[in-house]
């Protein structure tokens, strides 16, 4: 076993980890939407 510190801290932005996780998932949904639109725009 190690002896390192086990501190937990709030995230540096958006107040809570739950909000950060939600932000990441929304970002993923946006990326998928953009890729879909990109493919549609140039695939005939």
């Amino acid at each position: 076993m190690t002896t390192g510190p086990q501190r937990d801290e709030p995230p540096p932005f958006w107040g809570s980890w739950r909000r950060v996780y939600l932000g990441v998932l929304l970002y993923l949904a946006t990326l998928i939407g953009l890729f879909w639109a990109f493919a549609r725009a140039f695939t005939r």
Binding site: T2, P11, V20, V24, Y27, L28, A39, F42
Partner: protein, 556 residues
């Protein structure tokens, strides 16, 4: 490669080793050597996680895959951000609070010694094979294109890695990964910009997108559901999530990166950085392949990109006929592409639609001629040689050296993390647990150094003699997916089902492995689904066995 390229390549390699040795100073306790004293900031861990995953062969073959098959491979990464969120919320705090060196050490705390030993053994087999295999595959490609003997490429890459990893431990691995990732980023940006600049003057960037799109090279999202198709939105989101959960949550080569964090928050941020940056990075790599495709619409590509195989088939009687068909098909496609662009710029939808069909027909004929050429060769699949052929033949001096340095960096960053983690599991989960339970810190430190050197030499030897293994290479090519699902299942039981005990988990892992091998050998299910299947079978079996034991129907 010109003199400037050699200067850039060897300058980068020397910089990596010097920096690794410098940053690895002071690793004189086991805690420092294997966990960096838990002092790492989030950005170092984040880039180290990214560099560990980005092997050279991924870099080389992803661009080739996009050239041949379009950008659908991007969907493989859609599950990664989801997995990073789940791991940040579950595995990161659990591992940190358990105060462990390895993920498998936690399994003994939660279950028992035999479950820890089983999963550790699965990791050593799987990661040991994968490490040697990745090195072998990289060496083969570089050997063919640089014209060096195999052993020089392998010994150069692995020898340098062993030097700084043995001496500096995880600190050297992490900080060199940071530097290597920066070289990779630089290589990617320069490769993309140079590829765009090398397009013919009369072809604008939007024209290039139109040509790539019309040939199906920008097809990034496929929403159809088919268990036998490797890359769809659903296999990426569901299968990809399970694969990423397994890789980042149970594979010590990744877990060890974020166990070095100075706090739970820092480790979480390192994973979430990857959740945000990884998909766009893969998009850029695939997009480079699509631009290379457009470049070769106007510049005639070789019939086969594998130079050795191309030389071999030149002597065949059928070669002249195939080459003539290929040349005709290339001229036809170039003409059809220009006609399509003129129609597209003119804005006449009927004429454009007609020219698109013409262009696609010409593309099909070119593909057929290439397939005929590939049929003459012993090894017809030349996907891994496309990007490097483009780089070495067409890129300017200096840029070739930078891209070669990026490829070496990608290989070295993966190998260093892998031998570091293999040594950690060997010492912590095997040597310290089963061989020498109460030795001094100094002895474990030296065992870790020897373990690192051993696994480095093993990887080098495996890569060196990989050619002899022939069909075994094919068999272990998707080695991760054969093991990850069962490993993930063990951790899912540990995290979320507190009633399940050691023997039930142990039997669950065995049942999960059996199910995966059955699916692999006797069904046509795409490999991304193995992780889902293995994990579900482990959890279902673990729960069923535990329930039977509690009802007195089974003695555990």
């Amino acid at each position: 490669m010109r003199p400037l390229d050699w200067v850039v390549l060897f300058g980068s390699l020397a910089g990596i080793v010097t920096y690794g040795l410098y940053k690895g100073r002071g690793s004189d306790t086991v805690n420092q050597y294997l966990l960096a004293g838990k002092t790492m900031p989030w950005y170092a861990m984040a880039l180290s996680i990214m560099a560990t995953q980005a092997s050279a062969i991924t870099f080389i073959s992803t661009t080739g895959q996009s050239y041949v098959d379009g950008m659908r491979f991007i969907q493989f990464y859609f599950g990664l951000p989801v997995a990073m969120v789940i791991l940040s919320a579950t595995a990161v705090p659990i591992f940190h609070r358990a105060n462990v060196y390895t993920a498998y050490e936690y399994l003994e705390q939660r279950f028992d010694a035999k479950t820890r030993a089983l999963v550790s053994a699965v990791f050593l087999i799987q990661r040991g094979l994968a490490c040697g295999l990745a090195l072998y595959a990289t060496a083969i490609v570089l050997t063919v294109l640089l014209g060096w003997p195999d052993w020089i490429t392998t010994v150069l890459m692995t020898g340098l890695v062993i030097l700084y990893t043995v001496l500096g431990g995880v600190k050297a691995v992490t900080w060199t990964d940071v530097q290597q990732m920066l070289i990779i980023f630089a290589g990617l940006i320069v490769a993309l910009l140079t590829a765009i600049l090398l397009l013919p003057g009369e072809v604008s960037f939007l024209d290039a997108l139109a040509l790539a799109g019309a040939a199906g090279r920008l097809n990034a999202v496929d929403a159809s559901f088919n268990l036998r198709t490797n890359y769809t939105l659903w296999s990426g989101l569901i299968g990809g999530t399970f694969l990423a959960l397994s890789y980042f949550g149970t594979d010590q080569s990744q877990v060890q990166r974020y166990l070095t964090g100075r706090s739970i928050a820092q480790s979480r941020l390192s994973l979430l950085f990857n959740a945000v940056a990884k998909v766009p990075m893969q998009f850029v790599i695939l997009f480079i392949g699509a631009i290379v495709f457009v470049f070769f619409v106007f510049e005639k590509p070789p019939l086969l990109f594998h130079p050795v195989e191309l030389e071999k088939i030149r002597g065949r009687a059928e070669f002249a006929e195939v080459e003539a068909r290929y040349s005709r098909a290339f001229d036809q496609r170039r003409g059809a592409a220009m006609d399509f662009l003129r129609a597209h710029r003119g804005g006449d939808p009927i004429r454009t639609a007609r020219q698109v069909e013409e262009y696609r027909r010409a593309q099909k004929e070119l593909d057929a001629a290439r397939a005929q050429g590939a049929g003459l060769a012993e090894k017809g699949n030349d996907t891994n040689y496309i990007f490097l052929t483009f780089v070495t033949r067409y890129m300017p001096a200096g840029v070739v050296g930078l891209i070669m340095a990026a490829i070496f960096a990608a290989a070295m960053s993966s190998v260093s993390a892998e031998i570091n983690s293999l040594a950690t599991v060997t010492v912590i989960d095997i040597y310290k647990r089963h061989v020498r339970k109460a030795a001094s810190d100094r002895e474990y430190l030296w065992a870790s150094r020897l373990g690192t050197a051993f696994w480095g030499c093993y990887a080098m030897a495996f890569a060196q003699y990989g050619r002899e293994l022939g069909s075994l290479i094919e068999a272990v090519n998707r080695v991760g997916s054969l093991f990850y699902g069962a490993m993930l299942g063990a951790f899912v039981l540990a995290f979320f089902f507190p009633r399940v005990r050691g023997t039930a988990a142990f039997l669950g892992v065995l049942a999960g492995e059996a199910a995966i091998f059955y699916a692999h050998l006797f069904t046509g299910i795409a490999f991304l689904w193995y992780n889902v299947l293995g994990c579900l079978v482990v959890v279902a079996t673990g729960l069923a066995v535990q329930r039977a034991a509690e009802r007195g129907r089974m003695r555990l």
